[in-house]
C-alpha cells in the first residue's frame, strides 16, 4: 500500500485539504480553474516511444503524467489548433456536436464514470464542454470576444492535462448518447480528443502498444504466427482431454468457405480460451468449412481508440486476408469494439469487398442479408440461426451447475443492435438464466468500466469506480437470483469484469457466450462429459439467492 500511504509532511498538507474533484470534496474554484491532479491509480501510463514509432505517430519520448513537465513539442498549441480546424472541416458530426448541446443534463447521470467518481467533469455534457470551450475560444467570433464570459477559453498546458485525464476517463461506451435528445455521440468527441492528443505525443501505452503490436503481427498480444498456432493447438489438446473430441482447426486454408476472426485473447487468455473451445466444438459439430488466419489473428482493433487512420489500417487485414485465402464470407467472434468498427466504419473505410459473397449459412441456407454490405456475420447471429433451424444437439443441463446472468457489451448492443440473439442462445443452452435490472441491460447497458483501452493494471482504482454501476447490477442478480456466472460477448469484458467482480461481487465468475454453448453441445463420439470446459465438476453445487451471506 506504500503508494497510498502519505509521508508525514504530505499527510499534513493533505489533511489541510486541497480540493480535488476526485476526492469528493467540492472545489471552491470555477471548473476552468480547477486543474486535473494526477495521482497513482487515477491515470494510465504514458505510451512508450517504441509504440509510437511502431505506428509512425509523432513526438515519441519518455514522459510521466504525474510530473509537471510533459515535454510537449514546442509548437504543440499550433498543432492542436490546426488539427482541430482540420477535423472540424472534414467531420460534420464533430462540428455539429461542438454547436448543438442545450445542456439539458439528460446525459449527466448516465455515465458510469460520473456515477462512480462523482466528478462533475465526468458528466458527458461537461466532458464535451472541455472541448467546446476550446472550440469557442479558438474558432468562434463570440468566443474570442467574450472569453470566459462566453464559456470560451484558449489552449493551455492545463487544458491538455485535463483532456488527457477526462478523455481517458471515457470508455466511448455511448450510454449517454442513448439518452441525448439531440443524439450527440460523446464517444465521437472523445475519439476526436484522443486523435488531437496524438498530434502532440500525449497518449497511453495500454492503447498504443497493442495497436502497434497488431500492426506488426496481426494481433494485440504480439503472437507471431507459430505462437498463435501453438496456442490453438494447446487449446485443442485440452479440449480433447475434456470432451474426447480431437479437433485440428484449419489454419490459413485457401478456398475455405468461411474465414473466422476473433479477438486474440480467445486464443491465449483465461477465460477467453474457454470461449474459443466453444467455437471450435461448434464448427466441428456442424462440419463448417472454415479457416483461421495467423495474419488476421485479431478481431479487436485498438485503432478505434487511437485514430481513424490506425483503425482503418488495422481493420484492413480482414479483407486482405479474406481475399488472399479466397473465402466467401467472414464470421466474427465474440468481441465488442471489433463489431463497432465492422458495423459502423468497415464498409466505408475498407469496403466494398466485391471478392466476397453475401454471407449464407451453409447449414441452414439462411442468407444474412443484413450483412450484405460488410460480408461479415457475428457468431451470435450465426449460432442463433443454427439453433432456430434445430441444427444443434444441445443438453442445457450441462450448464445446470451455473446460474447465469448476461452483460450486454456496449459496442454490440448500442453499436450494432445485437440484443436478442445472445439471449435466444442463452435460453437454449442454459436452464438458469436471469436478467440484471432493466435500467442496466440491452441498449441501456452499463460499461464494464475498462473499455476503450483502459483495462490496464495501474488504473485499477478508477476502473473499480467506473465499473461499479455494472457490478452493482451483477450483485443484485447474485442476491436476487443466486447468479454466479456473468456471461459477456466481448474479450475486454471478460478480463475487466473478472477484476471488477473479484472486488465488488466475490463469487461471480465471468464467461463468454460460446463457452456455455460448448458445454451444452452434444458431440458425436464424445466421452462422458462430467466436467465443463474450464474443467469444473458438473455436479458443482449451485448458489441460491442471497448465497453471498455465506461468503
Amino acid at each position: 500500500m506504500s503508494k497510498f500511504v502519505a509521508k508525514p509532511a504530505e499527510l499534513a498538507e493533505a489533511i489541510a485539504s486541497q480540493a480535488s474533484l476526485l476526492t469528493g470534496e467540492t472545489p471552491q474554484t470555477n471548473w476552468m480553474e480547477t486543474p486535473a491532479e494526477f495521482k497513482p491509480g487515477n491515470y494510465c501510463y504514458s505510451a512508450k516511444p517504441e509504440a509510437l514509432n511502431g505506428l509512425g505517430l509523432p513526438h515519441a519520448r519518455e514522459w510521466d503524467p504525474a510530473e509537471a513537465d510533459w515535454k510537449l513539442p514546442e509548437d504543440w498549441m499550433q498543432r492542436l489548433h490546426v488539427g482541430m480546424k482540420e477535423r472540424l472541416g472534414k467531420n460534420r458530426a464533430f462540428k455539429l456536436f461542438m454547436e448543438i448541446c442545450v445542456r439539458c443534463g439528460a446525459c449527466a447521470d448516465k455515465c458510469h464514470f460520473f456515477l462512480g467518481t462523482g466528478d462533475p467533469k465526468n458528466m458527458p455534457v461537461m466532458r464535451a464542454e472541455l472541448m467546446r470551450s476550446i472550440y469557442r475560444g479558438e474558432f468562434t467570433v463570440a468566443g474570442k470576444l467574450l472569453g470566459q464570459l462566453g464559456g470560451a477559453r484558449k489552449f493551455t498546458e492545463e487544458v491538455v492535462k485535463e483532456w488527457f485525464m477526462y478523455y481517458y476517463q471515457c470508455t466511448e461506451c455511448r450510454r449517454c448518447s442513448v439518452f441525448c435528445p439531440y443524439g450527440i455521440d460523446t464517444a465521437e468527441i472523445t475519439m476526436m480528443a484522443r486523435e488531437l492528443l496524438h498530434l502532440i505525443g500525449v497518449n497511453i501505452n495500454w492503447v498504443l502498444k497493442p495497436a502497434s503490436d497488431c500492426n506488426r503481427t496481426g494481433n494485440h498480444l504480439n503472437l507471431e504466427p507459430h505462437a498463435f498456432v501453438s496456442a490453438l493447438e494447446s487449446i485443442c489438446e485440452d479440449l480433447e482431454d475434456i470432451t474426447g473430441i480431437a479437433i485440428e482447426p484449419p489454419i490459413n486454408k485457401k478456398g475455405a468457405e468461411v474465414l473466422f476472426i476473433t479477438p486474440s485473447a480467445d486464443a491465449f487468455a483465461v477465460p477467453g480460451m474457454y470461449t474459443m473451445m466453444g467455437y471450435l466444438l461448434l464448427f466441428k459439430h456442424i462440419g463448417l468449412d472454415y479457416t483461421i488466419s495467423t495474419y488476421a489473428s485479431e478481431g479487436g482493433n485498438f485503432g478505434l481508440f487511437t485514430s481513424s487512420d490506425v483503425m482503418k489500417k488495422l481493420n484492413g487485414k480482414m479483407y486482405h486476408e479474406a481475399e488472399r485465402l479466397g473465402v466467401k464470407w467472414i464470421l466474427g467472434g465474440e468481441c465488442g469494439h471489433m463489431w463497432r468498427v465492422v458495423h459502423q466504419y468497415m464498409s466505408t473505410m475498407n469496403g466494398p469487398a466485391p471478392f466476397l459473397e453475401v454471407p449464407k449459412n451453409p447449414i441452414t441456407g439462411t442468407l444474412f442479408e443484413h450483412a450484405k454490405e460488410t460480408k461479415m456475420v457475428h457468431i451470435a447471429e450465426f449460432t442463433a440461426d443454427l439453433i432456430h433451424h434445430h441444427k444443434l444437439k444441445l443438453d442445457p443441463s450441462r450448464n445446470d451447475h451455473r446460474n447465469v446472468t448476461f452483460h450486454d457489451s456496449c459496442n454490440t448492443s448500442r453499436g450494432m443492435g445485437l440484443i436478442e440473439e445472445p439471449r435466444y442462445i442463452l435460453n437454449q443452452v442454459v436452464n438458469n438464466f436471469h436478467e440484471m435490472p432493466e435500467d442496466t441491460i440491452r441498449e441501456k447497458t452499463f460499461c464494464c468500466g475498462s473499455g476503450s483501452g483502459l483495462n490496464t493494471e495501474e488504473y485499477m482504482d478508477i476502473r473499480m469506480r467506473g465499473g461499479f454501476p455494472r457490478a452493482a447490477a451483477a450483485r443484485w442478480a447474485k442476491k436476487t437470483h443466486g447468479s454466479d456466472l456473468l456471461a459477456a460477448i466481448c474479450a475486454i469484458d471478460r478480463v475487466a469484469l473478472t477484476a471488477s467482480m473479484n472486488y465488488w461481487v466475490p463469487g461471480m465468475e465471468v464467461s463468454g457466450l460460446h463457452e456455455l454453448v460448448g458445454n451444452a453441445l452434444i458431440m458425436d463420439g464424445e466421452k462422458n462429459r462430467d466436467i465443463d470446459l474450464r474443467e469444473d465438476d458438473l455436479e458443482r453445487p449451485t448458489l441460491g439467492p442471497m448465497a453471498e451471506e455465506e461468503d
Binding site: M1, F4, V5, A6, L11, A14, I15, S20, L22, T23, G24, E25, T26, K39, G41, N42, A108, D109, F114, L115, G116, G118, P120, A227, S230, A231, S234, E237, F268, A269, V270, M273, P437, D439, T440, F446, E457, M460, D461, M464, R465, F468, P469, A472, A473, V495, T498, A499, N502, Y503, W504, E549
Partner: protein
C-alpha cells in the same frame, strides 16, 4: 430519554449529517443517497444504505458479524475514492461528535451511555482498519492476478512445447 431513544428519534437527520461528513459529495449528484432510482446514484446509495444499516444494527445491538458486513460495504466504496487511509477507515468518528451534539442540544446527561457508544465505535474502527487493509490488498491482488492470467498462457505453452 435513553441514548437509543435519542438516536432513533433523530435517525434521518443524523444519517444525513453523517453521510455529509463522510463524503461531502454524497448528498447530491450521482452520489445522492436519496435518489429513488438506484442506478441513478448507485455508489451513493450503496454507501448511504451501508451507513443506515450499520446505524440500525448498532441500535438493535446486533453482533459484530452483521456490523462487519455493513462496514465492508461502506469501506469497499471508500477504499477506491482517493481518500487517505485515515479518512476512509475513520468514517465512524464524525458520528461521535454528531451524537454528542444532539445530546447537548437536548440537555440530556448521557455521559455513561456515550462512553459505551464511543467504545463501540472505537472497536468498530479497528475492524474497519482491517477491512480497509484487506480491500486495498485485494485490489493489488487483482492487479497481480490480471498480470498472471496474461503470462499463464506463455508458461502453459512453454511447458507443453518444452521451450519458451
Amino acid at each position: 430519554m435513553s441514548l437509543a431513544q435519542l438516536l432513533l428519534k433523530h435517525r434521518e437527520n443524523l444519517l444525513d449529517q453523517w453521510l455529509d461528513a463522510v463524503y461531502p459529495l454524497s448528498t447530491d449528484g450521482p452520489f445522492g443517497h436519496k435518489t429513488k432510482t438506484f442506478f441513478k446514484g448507485p455508489m451513493g446509495r450503496t454507501l448511504s444504505d451501508a451507513l443506515a444499516n450499520l446505524f440500525d444494527h448498532i441500535l438493535a445491538e446486533e453482533d459484530s458479524r452483521s456490523l462487519a458486513t455493513d462496514m465492508d460495504q461502506a469501506i469497499r466504496v471508500l477504499a477506491v475514492q482517493e481518500l487517505l487511509p485515515s479518512q476512509a477507515a475513520g468514517f465512524l468518528f464524525p458520528l461521535k461528535a454528531l451524537v454528542r451534539g444532539l445530546a447537548r442540544k437536548a440537555e440530556l446527561d448521557l455521559s455513561e451511555e456515550l462512553n459505551g457508544f464511543d467504545h463501540l465505535l472505537d472497536q468498530l474502527t479497528r475492524i474497519g482498519f482491517d477491512i480497509y487493509s484487506k480491500a486495498r490488498e485485494e485490489l493489488y491482488m487483482i492487479q497481480i492476478e490480471e498480470q498472471k492470467r496474461q503470462t499463464e498462457g506463455v508458461f502453459r505453452l512453454a511447458n507443453k512445447r518444452g521451450s519458451l
